[in-house]
C-alpha cells in the first residue's frame, strides 16, 4: 500500500503547524521524520494515520495504483503507536489481543498472533501480568506488539524511544530493524535522535517551516 500526501496543511488555534507537506511514501522500508519539537512531526503522523483530519490538502492511499476509500477497513490496515501507549487495565495478553478482538478474529488465530507479537518484542514471559505494571520501556514494546498483532501494512511510530532507557531503545531499534528485514510493513516514524534516524532510516525526512522534504543527514 502506498501513501501520497499533497499540500497538507494544519492549523492549531489559527497558528499554522503544517503549511505545505507533500510526499509519496513508497510501500516498504522505513521513513524517519525529523525536526525540532513542535515542528509538526506528530501532527503529520496523526493525519497520515487518519486519526486527525488536515485543514487542507489531500491524502491518497493506493493499492496497486488503485485509490482506496478512507473508511474503517482502510484504517484497520494501518496503525499508529502513540508516544504514550494508552495501556488498557488488563493483562499484557489482552492488551495485545485488543486489535484482533475488534476485528472479530477467531480465538485460535488470535492466540497465535498475540503470542507471536509478544515473542517478537520479547514480552511473551509477561503475558499474564497486568499491563499497568510494566516499565516504561516494556510499555513502549507492548504498544509495538499491540500494533504488530494486527499485521499492519503501514506502521506509524511517534517517538517510539523518547521516554525509554538505553537497553529498551536498543531492543526497539532491533524490532524496527527486524520489521524492515521482514519487508511486509512500511514504517513511518518520528524521532529527534539524529543517530537513531541514521541507523534506522531508508529515507530521512525533515519538516522545516511547515514543509516536508527529503534530507541526507
Amino acid at each position: 500500500m502506498k501513501l501520497l500526501i499533497t499540500h497538507i496543511r494544519k492549523d492549531y488555534d489559527g497558528k499554522p503547524v503544517l503549511k505545505d507537506c507533500s510526499y509519496a511514501f513508497g510501500g516498504s522500508g522505513a521513513y524517519v521524520l525529523m525536526g525540532p519539537n513542535g515542528c509538526g512531526k506528530s501532527t503529520l503522523l496523526r493525519i497520515c494515520s487518519l486519526l486527525e483530519r488536515p485543514d487542507g490538502g489531500d491524502l491518497l492511499f493506493q493499492d496497486n495504483d488503485a485509490p482506496l476509500v478512507q473508511d474503517i477497513a482502510l484504517r484497520r490496515r494501518m496503525t499508529l503507536v502513540l508516544p504514550r501507549t494508552g495501556v488498557f487495565n488488563t493483562s499484557v495478553f489482552s492488551n495485545v489481543a485488543y486489535g484482533l478482538k475488534v476485528r472479530d478474529t477467531r480465538p485460535a488465530e488470535l492466540e497465535q498472533k498475540v503470542l507471536s507479537a509478544l515473542a517478537f518484542v520479547g514480552l511473551d514471559y509477561k503475558k499474564r501480568h497486568n499491563a499497568l505494571t510494566l516499565s516504561s520501556g516494556e510499555t513502549q514494546r507492548l504498544g509495538i506488539a499491540r500494533a504488530l498483532a494486527i499485521d499492519p501494512q503501514i506502521l506509524f511510530l511517534d517517538e517510539p524511544t523518547a521516554s525509554v532507557d538505553e537497553e529498551n531503545t536498543a531492543i526497539i531499534e532491533t524490532i524496527i530493524g527486524n520489521l524492515k528485514k521482514d519487508g511486509r510493513t512500511m514504517v513511518i516514524m518520528t524521532t529527534h535522535d539524529r543517530d537513531q534516524a541514521a541507523r534506522l532510516a531508508d529515507q530521512l525526512l525533515v519538516i522545516e517551516r511547515g514543509a516536508l522534504r527529503e534530507t541526507t543527514r
Binding site: 474503517i72 484504517r75 495501556v87 486489535g99
Partner: protein, 234 residues
C-alpha cells in the same frame, strides 16, 4: 450497655432459630433494595456514560442536577412518590401505594442519581489516550465507547456499591410509601424504626446487627470482585 449485650444475644438467637417472620423481612429488604439497584444501574449507567462521553446543550446543567440529586432527602422522595401513587394522584389508578413496588420506585429514585453521577465521574476520569489507542488499533466508534466504559468498570462498580449502601440503609421513603405493613411491606429498617418506637430496643438492635452483617457480607463480596481489578505488582 446492657441493651447492646441483650441485642447481640437476641440477634444470635434470631439468626440461630431462623425465625420465619425475620426471614421474610430480610428477604423483602433484599428484594426491594436489589430490584431498585438493578433498575437504577440499568438506567444510571447509560445515563452516566452519556453525560461522560457526549457533548450536548444543557450537559453541564444535567451534571449539576444529578450531583445535587445525590443528596435527595428520602422523606421528600417518599412524599413525592406518595403523592404520585395516592388514590387522587396521577398514577393512583395503578393501586401501587403501600406495596413493595412503591418501595422499589422510591428507592430507585434515591439510587439513580448516585449511580448516574458516580458512573459519569468514573467514565470522565478515563484517560483520553485510551480512546485514541482504541481508535489506532482499529476500533469503531461504538467499540471505542465500550472500551472507555470497560476501563471505567471498577469506578462503575464503586457507584453500584455506594447506591446499594444508600438503599439498604434507607428508611424514610419506604416507610411513607410502603406503610410498614407486617408480612407485606415491612423491611429491616422500618422494623427497626417501629421496634425502637415501641421501646423494644433488643429486637431493634438485633435487626440492626443483622442489617449491618448483611451489608458487610454483600459489600465484602463486591469489594472482592473490585479488588481483582487492582494492579498486581508481582
Amino acid at each position: 450497655m446492657d441493651s447492646f449485650l441483650q441485642g447481640f444475644i437476641k440477634a444470635f438467637e434470631l439468626i440461630f432459630h431462623l425465625d420465619q417472620t425475620l426471614f421474610g423481612i430480610i428477604v423483602l429488604s433484599l428484594k426491594v433494595s436489589g430490584s431498585a439497584l438493578v433498575i437504577s444501574t440499568a438506567i444510571g449507567l447509560p445515563a452516566g456514560a452519556l453525560l461522560g462521553l457526549k457533548r450536548f446543550p444543557g450537559r453541564d446543567l444535567a451534571i449539576s442536577s444529578v450531583n445535587t440529586l445525590m443528596g435527595l432527602p428520602p422523606v421528600v422522595v417518599g412524599l413525592f412518590v406518595y403523592l404520585l401513587l395516592s388514590r387522587k394522584g396521577p398514577l393512583g389508578f395503578m393501586g401501587l401505594l403501600y406495596s413493595p413496588t412503591a418501595m422499589i420506585v422510591a428507592q430507585t429514585i434515591l439510587a439513580l442519581p448516585i449511580v448516574t453521577a458516580l458512573c459519569h465521574s468514573a467514565i470522565v476520569n478515563v484517560d483520553p489516550i485510551i480512546r485514541q489507542a482504541a481508535r489506532t488499533l482499529g476500533a469503531t466508534r461504538r467499540q471505542e465507547t465500550l472500551t472507555v466504559i470497560h476501563e471505567a468498570r471498577y469506578g462503575i462498580f464503586s457507584a453500584v456499591i455506594a447506591a446499594f449502601g444508600r438503599v439498604m440503609a434507607e428508611v424514610g421513603s419506604i416507610l411513607i410509601v410502603g406503610g410498614n405493613i407486617a408480612g407485606y411491606t415491612r423491611v429491616m429498617t422500618t422494623t427497626i424504626a417501629l421496634e425502637t418506637d415501641k421501646g423494644n430496643f433488643e429486637l431493634a438492635l438485633a435487626l440492626g446487627i443483622i442489617l449491618l452483617t448483611i451489608s458487610f457480607v454483600i459489600n465484602a463480596a463486591l469489594h472482592g470482585v473490585q479488588k481483582r481489578g487492582s494492579v498486581k505488582t508481582s
